[in-house]
Structures are given as C-alpha cells and as structure tokens.
Amino acid sequence: MRPLTYSRASAVADAVHAVTVDPESAYLAGGTTEIDLLRQDVLTPGRLVDINDLPLTGIEETRGALVIGALARMSDVAAAPAVRTRYPLLAQALEAGASAQLRHMATMGGNLLQRVRCGYFRDTESPCNKRRPGSGCGALTGVNRGHAVLGTSEHCIATHPSDAAVALTALDARVHTRTTAGHGAYHIDDFFLLPGDTPHREHPLEHGELITSIEIPDTPTARNSTYLKVRDRASYEFALVSVAATLQLEQGRISGVRLALGGVATKPWRARRAERLLLGAGADRRAFAEAAREELADAAPTPMNAFKVELAQRAVVRALESLA
C-alpha cells in the first residue's frame, strides 16, 4: 500500500469538499474492497477521507419508499425489520454475501461501488482495461470460468460481484448522491455502466460525488420474493449465478414480476425481456423456462463459462417456482 494521508470527516459537506478538490483522494467507508485493493496496488489514492462518522446510517420508512443511508452496514440493513418483511429478497441477498464480519464492516454505498472480482484486475502484472485502460483484457482468453456472459464487450468480461445490487436492481432502487454543487439521484439501471469500450468507467459518479442514500420504492409484490444464489461452496463465495425475483399472481396468471440476475453479467442484470414475457402468462415451468431462455438468448459465453448460460436459466426457473 502506498503512503497515505488520512482525514476523518464528521459532516457530509466537509467530506465531499475534501475529496472533490483533491484528485488524489478517495472516500474510506467500510474499506472491505478498498483496503484490499490498496494493498494490491490496484487502487492508488494518496489520501483517504474517512466518512464512517457521517450521519448516513439510517434506515427509514418514508411515504412510498424505504430510504437506506449509504453508510448503513450490510448486517444492519439485512436485520432491519422493514427490510425483512417488505423486501425479503434484499435481506436474503445481503446475508448471502461475504461473511458476517465483512457484513458488519461493509456499507451499502460501498457495496454498490465494490470492484469486480476478476483475477486479472487484481493482478497488477496482468493486462486489464479496467485497471489500466488500453492494456488489454487477460480474462478474454484466460481463466474466465467465473466471468460474465451478458453485457460483455471485447474489452472486459468481468462479472459485477454484488448480491445486494442485484436485489436492488430488481426493486428499481434509486441512488442519491451529494456533490459540492448539490444533490443527485440515479435510477439503479443508470448507475451501473456496461463496460463497452470504457470498462474503467463503472458508474456515472464524478470524482468526489458521494452516495448518501439508497431509496427503494414501495413494491408490494416484493413481499413474495427470493434471492437464489448458486456457488461452488456453500457460503462465503461470490455467485456463479444468482437470481433476485418477486412474483405476484392473480387467478393463476402472473400479474407482477421482477427479475434480476447476478454472477452472469458485467452489471446487475435486470431481466426485462423475461419480465415482459412473463407478465400475464401462466405461472408454470414452461413459461418460466421460455422467459429465461429469451433473457439469455444473447449470452456470449466462453468455453469455460458456457455452463452459466444453462445454469442461469435453470436458476430463474427454480426461483420463480419457489414463489409460484
């Protein structure tokens, strides 16, 4: 880890100002990704502004939404009664992620900004267009069993690692930010950028723009929801494939459905094609399978991760069946 200077902020404005004016600086929240990647020399800021004292830890039910402070810890959000009853898929996704210790440390804002779990990104000796734009992508022809099959580009196929973000994507969450200029808000679909030819740009935030909260609109259908995660070991591992799903039925027909996929795409993947096919369809295995097939139709797998295309479809079917 390079030499660093350290400041601790107690007011949002102070923190935002400090980082905004210093291009070498970065926020420090839970640190679970950041400290690791600082030590790997993948991240190279010269100054950390510790924001853990900022009053952004609330979990508040407002009219029409649940607002989660950016510094609320994963464990606290997962345990919050409002989350558990109104958004079971989010509580499950949070608890399926990382470990108990990491969930106590990691913040919701940091979770959205966590970096990809790609060996070539971590390894500073390897080419990586995310880490060193233009240097190439080691994963394209390398070891890519865990990599993405959707939303990939010829410059990057790294999988977005978050579980919680998959659930939030299914829930149409909004990400609220602060800059020195004022406030911003992003629909979660716009918050995560596809790699395209700029894989180093993962989100639209400007330098110094601070996530302050995540707003989840009321989603009554989310009470019947699930987060299914498939991985090699039983816990403490990133997803090979995951599915966040909500389902509402009226007289045997699907009247509401939300689907998002994790572990298979370069960003948390809202399965809108599948949702369109499912709305109004019968809640049966065939409809589920057909929708899943359609969603994965454009998948671009490698020989090593081709199994994900089939696995993702089956996971969608399983998740929906468990809700039907």
Binding site: M1, R2, S126, V143, V230, D232, S235, F307, E310
Partner: protein
C-alpha cells in the same frame, strides 16, 4: 497379590496440552516472535514464467521510507552448495527443489523469487517490494500438460531418486487379455495448493556468528541441515526453533528458499529479519500438488476378480527435478491382483518443483483406482462393497508377504453399518425435493515408511517425580505434544499430568521431519524407547542399592506403577523414583532412546487401511452437490490418543471432500501465472460445507511396525475419499465424473 495392570494412558482421549496458549492467543508462531530491532522482509516474485531478467532497478525501492536493503541476484551472495532433492523423511538436507532462486538472471516459473526487500515495518517493506522495477526478456512458457504432452518421458527415478519411474509385477498384458470385463478410463486432476492458514514464515537472527531461525516447518532439523549446506556454515552453528506451526499439509515438509533468504537478509542488514510469505506467494514458493492425469486399465473375470491392473500417470514437473507425487505404489497393494504395472510419465514445464500435499499421491491414485472399481461394479452389477471383498488381499500382492496387521474387513463392516449401506439399491437413488440422494464407498490406503536413520528422543525425570521427553519435532496440529506425554507416562508409570513433551528446537535430540503420517510412530517410538531406557536405568539402580526396598530383586520383576517402581508380584514392595533420586542427591536422571531402521528384511508387509462411506445429495438441475454424511473407519494400528487421532482422521476426510468438490488452482496457460492465488478464489471448505462426519477406529495389534504398534492417522482419512464421493454422485445421478474437482458444470 499381583499388581493389577495399570490402565494405560496411551489411547485415552485426553485434551490437547496446548489448549490454553492456542485459545488465548499467546502461542507464538514463527512470525509472532518479537526480537529487538526486528525488521521485515518481503519477497518480489517474477512476473513472467520463462526468460531472463535484463534489468533490475531498485532505486525507487531503496529511496522509499524505512527501506534498509534490496537484495537481488546482482548482490545476493551465491549459495555454497545445492543439496540434492531428498524427502525430509530421510532426515538430512531436504530442499523442496534443486533450483535456488536469485543465483542468476534466469526465470523458470512465475513468482520465482527475484528480490528481497527489507524495511523497518511490514507496510513499508510490502510497498517497497512493488517499487523494484524489473525488465525481462520473455519466452513462451510450458505451463500446462497440454502444452508439453508430446515431450512426455518416463523418468528413471522419481521422488528424490527413491522410487522407480516404472514398476511391474506379473503379466499385465496377459491379465488384461484373459479378462472377461475390462474398464479403461482416464482421470484428470487440477493442481492444488496446500494453503495452511499460517503462511510460511521465518524469523532470522545472527548472534556471535551463529544463526537462529524461528521457522514454520514440519522438521526443524531439515531447515537446519538445508540452510547449513547452502550457506556453507556448520550445522552446529544453526539453531532452529519451531514451537508452533500453523498447519502445513506438505507446504512446510521440505525446506524452500525463504529461510535461506531470511538468513541472508538478516546478515546483510545486521538486524533480525522476519520474512512471512504473503498468501499470494504461498502459490509460488512452497510447491503444490501437480496437474496430473491417470489412465487405468483393469481386467476382471465375470465374478469381479481382478486379473490385471495397469495404472499410468502423466504429470507436470519442473525443469530441474523429476517429481511426481507417489500415486501408484500403495494403491497397488490394496487388492489381490496378480498383475500390476505402474508407470510415471513426466512433462517438464515452467513451474516450481511440485511437492507433498496431504495424502501425496494416494489421494489422486486412489481416486482413479476406486472410481475404476466402481465402474467395474456397475458393469458387472455387483455391489461395490462386495466387489472389494471378493478382491480382498489376504497377503501383500506386491511382496507376497503376510501383513503385519490389516483390519480392512472390519473397516468395511463398521463403515457400512454407520452409513446404512444395506439400504443402497444400485440405480435407484432416494429423492427429496430437488435433491437426489446417493451412497458411495471406497477403500483407503496409506503406506508405512520405516525410518531411514535413528530417530532419537531423551527422557528426563526430576527428583520431584515430574518428567519431560524431548525431541526436535514440530507440533503443527497433529497433537504430538499431547500424545508424547502419554507415551512417556505409560513407560514410566507416571500420572500424565506429571509428564510433558518438549519439541520444536534443533538443540533437542534429532528426529526426521514429521511427514508421511510418521510422526506418531517415529517420535512415539523414540520417546517410548527413551522412557523405557530411563525406567530400566532407575530400576537397575534400585535393585543394586542396598538402601532400596527393591535391593536384590530381579529387574525384570520390577514394574513402574503410579510413580513407583514395585515388584510385580508384591506391589507393596518398592519405592518412588523420587525417593531413589533424592537419596542419591541426584536432581534428575535421563536416558536416550533410539528407534532405528529395521535390521534386515521385515517379516511382514506393512500398510494402513480404511474405508469410506458417504452420502451425497445432488441437485442436478442446479449442479449442486452437498456431502451430507461421511463415515470413515480406519485401522491405524495402536492409537496413542483417541481424540487427536480421530481429529486427524476427520480432518483428512474433509480434505478429501475438499479435493473432490472444491480445490483447483487454475493456470493461465498463456502467461504461466496462477489465475486464482487467493483464499477468495482458491476454494477450501467453509463451516457451511461441513457434513456430519463419523470416525471409527479399528485398533489392530501390530508387533512389526514399531515398538508401539502405531501406524499413522495424518493422511489415510483423505485416501479414497474423493472416489467415495464420485461414486455416490454416480449412484445419485448415473453420471460418472472422472475429474477433480467435480464442480457445478459436471453435474448440471
């Protein structure tokens, strides 16, 4: 009246003696040692897998705050001599490979150590290591078997020259020819890394021309001898401590280059140096289980009796050593098969020399053999257990000798009962929701290696009646210190609370490294013989002493019991060790024990056996496999401590599960660099993967293996486990998986 035989302390499930230091955080491991003026060394690894260093620029590193030195091939002293490759079991110098880095500009494998950075704090050294700028002339590496398959060769010898590359008995061709059924299959294995939780670490200090090393090792003497030869300083001037070792699993079985580099760095900066490998460096610094491929051809008659077994292995080794883990020998002794052929073929690649990893060889060899037998059982429609019983080896098929002890039938019986084998119906698995339940079994085998040279220990009793046994062995989780106190207590007839074992220091009597499941047998025998010698010495003193109640007695009629020496037939007549010693103004007495190599050809063949029975649940739709129950039964001769022995066996079984379903180091074939060198990406089981595990001990009396009749428990738990799981998956799904690990895509 006759003294009732005291209840032996050996075998009792006593709690570990190191519980308090290990649960309170006060146990000091090699990187926990604090010395005045301690500095921190961090290694730099080569970015490329093959080529030469054309320039190395350490200026930025040297300018960084706190940096004391940067050593590279340009300024590191040359080693005096390179010892040959020899397993540390032999007791002498035992380098993990015959290539010593930082001697010239050549790069043979990625991660090869090319610089050592020393700084006053860990963080400063770690960062400065990134400031050493290196330029290379790169060549295309051979990093996986597929890149060098056409250059495979049969080595004359493997394993440090101790085993032939090709072995055969009987007529395999004829046996396969006359077989009524043949199974031919290829089994492939991903490379694996040991990854003990403690990374290899050495803290080095020079004082008065002597070198002191705190080294995480399975054999302190191995470090002492290897470093001594390479530095060209007398053995006597090096003292190695290894009081606590945070796991090894083979990573610390041989001496790699980091203790040497730590010693050289400490000499260079004139201060103590702590060199702890990073987790990533654990993938390129202490060997691994090599990528390999096994081809099995076996023949049998209609009743399933084997006629011939051909077992060929192809594996990747380094450019400097003919290393293959020994996959073919012990598996060839499990079944009564008249003809066997074992052939190793090697491909030289840009890798470090592979090395020991728990159950080194038997783990892979038995996966292939026990999977093939299951295939045979399926073909013949014979119950897999019945098939094995029909091929039971009543004598050693390799030597023709009787067994010193066996116990496999009893293991089958006990394990089958535990898992409920009789409910298994071939081709008809049970179902629970999305899960299909399968049962599988396999045999387990592990060789018994006699000592190559005398294994020594010292026993000392003090005038207050407390005793200590000493030998330079390391405690890395086996429970050796606990079991050795029990051995001492029984031989002296002392309460175990009065007995202590001390190891982890090369100034103590020399024993070979604790490898190959030999610790209990070798150190235990040496301690036993030392304690018996001490006891006999004191009994001899007593019967010769006019003031002793035992004066004039036949020494053979005197037995130790409850801290006393007493007549066997008149226990009231006797005295305590303390009384004898005190009367003679003697503060203590001590004796040595030496457990030597067997004299002449042993009369019987020695082997350790066991059986695995497992229940798996397979969710074929999502490719998920969960091991639900594992029942292992093992016949490890005599058990020194039932608790720690069962712990070792359980641990081995879970290692087998891990080998079966999780462990794989992925090589980037183009660059020759490991692609997943972290514990986040190299998967080992977590708590949630753990099934219900039962371990049964089938104790067998064995008067051949060693004075205590002890075999070993460190690795047999893993032998055959992966096959039992694969066989259970086959039972559940009808799908035969012939590769390790078996992952989601294989069962989807």
């Amino acid at each position: 009246m006759t003294a009732t035989a005291p209840t032996p302390v050996i075998g009792r499930p006593l709690p570990r003696v190191d519980g308090r230091p290990k649960t309170t955080g006060t146990a000091r491991y090699s990187a926990d040692v604090s010395l005045p003026g301690l500095t921190h060394a961090v290694l730099v690894g080569a970015a490329i897998a093959r080529g030469r260093i054309t320039a190395i620029d350490a200026a930025d590193a040297l300018d960084a705050p706190g940096v004391l030195a940067v050593l590279t091939h340009e300024n590191l002293p040359r080693v005096t001599a390179q010892p040959p490759l020899l397993p540390s079991l032999a007791g002498g110098p035992s380098p993990g490979q015959t290539f010593c880095p930082m001697q010239d500009d050549r790069i043979h494998y990625a991660g090869q150590h090319i610089a050592v950075v020393v700084a006053d704090t860990y963080e400063r050294a770690l960062y400065a290591a990134r400031l050493v700028h290196v330029r290379y002339r790169e060549e295309d590496p051979v990093a996986v078997l597929d890149q060098g398959r056409d250059q495979a060769y049969v080595p004359e010898k493997i394993f440090g020259g101790l085993l032939p590359g090709r072995s055969a008995r009987g007529d395999v061709e004829a046996g396969l020819e006359r077989a009524e059924v043949r199974v031919e299959a290829t089994y492939t294995f991903a490379p694996n890394h040991q990854n003990p939780l403690e990374t290899s670490s050495t803290t080095a200090m020079w004082e008065g021309g002597r070198l002191f090393l705190h080294d995480a090792t399975q054999g302190p003497a191995a470090t002492q001898h290897t470093v001594s030869v390479m530095l060209g300083i007398p053995h006597a001037d090096i003292r190695v401590y290894s009081h606590y070792v945070g796991g090894s699993f083979g990573a610390k079985a041989s001496t790699w280059d980091h203790p040497l580099l730590a010693a050289l760095a400490a000499r260079h900066v004139g201060r103590p140096v702590r060199l702890a490998l990073t987790r990533e460096q654990m993938f390129t610094s202490c060997g691994h289980r090599e990528e390999q491929e096994h081809r099995i051809a076996l023949g049998a008659d209609r009743d399933g009796r084997l006629t011939a077994l051909r077992h060929h292995k192809l594996s990747l080794t380094s450019h400097f050593d003919d290393w293959a883990e020994t996959s073919l020998e012990a598996p060839a002794q499990v079944y009564a098969c008249p003809a066997h052929e074992g052939v190793y073929r090697l491909v030289r690649g840009n890798t470090m020399t592979p090395t020991f990893m728990r159950c080194p060889g038997e783990g892979s060899g038995m996966f292939a053999l026990e999977s093939a037998l299951d295939e045979l059982a399926t073909r013949l429609d014979i119950d897999p257990l019945e098939l094995r019983l029909r091929n039971h080896a009543d004598r050693d098929p390799a030597s023709g000798k009787p067994w010193s002890s066996h116990g496999l039938r009893e293991c089958y019986e006990r394990g089958a009962e535990r898992i409920g084998w009789d409910r298994r119906v071939a081709g008809r698995p049970e179902r629970e929701g999305p899960w299909t339940i399968g049962l599988g079994m396999a045999s387990a085998v592990y060789p018994i290696v006699p000592p190559s040279n005398p294994q020594r220990a010292r026993a000392r009793i003090y005038a207050d009646g407390s005793a200590v046994a000493q030998a330079a062995t390391a405690e890395f989780g086996t429970g050796a210190a606990t079991a050795m106190a029990q051995v001492l207590a029984d031989a002296l007839g002392l309460p175990v609370e009065r007995c202590r074992f001390e190891g982890g220091d090369t100034d103590l009597p020399n024993v070979a490294s604790t490898v190959g499941s030999t610790g209990a047998a070798m150190v235990g025998s040496a301690v036993h013989l030392a304690a018996v010698a001490l006891r006999d010495q004191l009994i001899g003193r007593a019967v010769a002493d006019e003031r002793s109640p035992l004066h004039g007695a036949d020494p053979g009629a005197v037995v130790p019991v409850d801290g006393r020496m007493a007549l066997r037939d008149d226990p009231g007549t006797g005295e305590s060790y303390a009384e004898l010693l005190t009367r003679h103004f003697q503060p203590d007495a001590e004796a040595y024990g030496s457990f030597g190599p067997p004299q002449g050809e042993p009369p019987a063949a020695m082997i350790t056996l066991g059986a695995h029975f497992v229940e798996v649940a397979v969710d074929g739709e999502l490719g998920r496999v969960r091991v639900r129950r594992m029942a292992g039964a093992f016949a490890p001769g005599r058990v020194l401590n039932a608790r720690t022995a069962k712990g070792q066996l359980m641990s081995g079984m879970l290692w087998g599960m891990s080998q079966a379903l999780l462990e794989a180091t992925h090589m980037d074939a183009a660059t020759g660099r490991w692609a997943n060198p972290s514990l986040g990406d190299y998967l080992i089981p977590v708590h949630a993967d753990t099934p219900e595990v039962t371990v049964d001990l089938i104790e067998t009396a064995d008067h051949v293996v060693n004075p205590l009749g002890v075999k070993g428990v460190g690795e047999i738990g893993q032998s055959g486990t992966a096959a039992a799981i694969a066989n259970a998956i086959h039972h559940a799904t009808g799908r035969r998986i012939r590769k390790l690990p078996m992952t989601v895509e294989d069962t989807l």
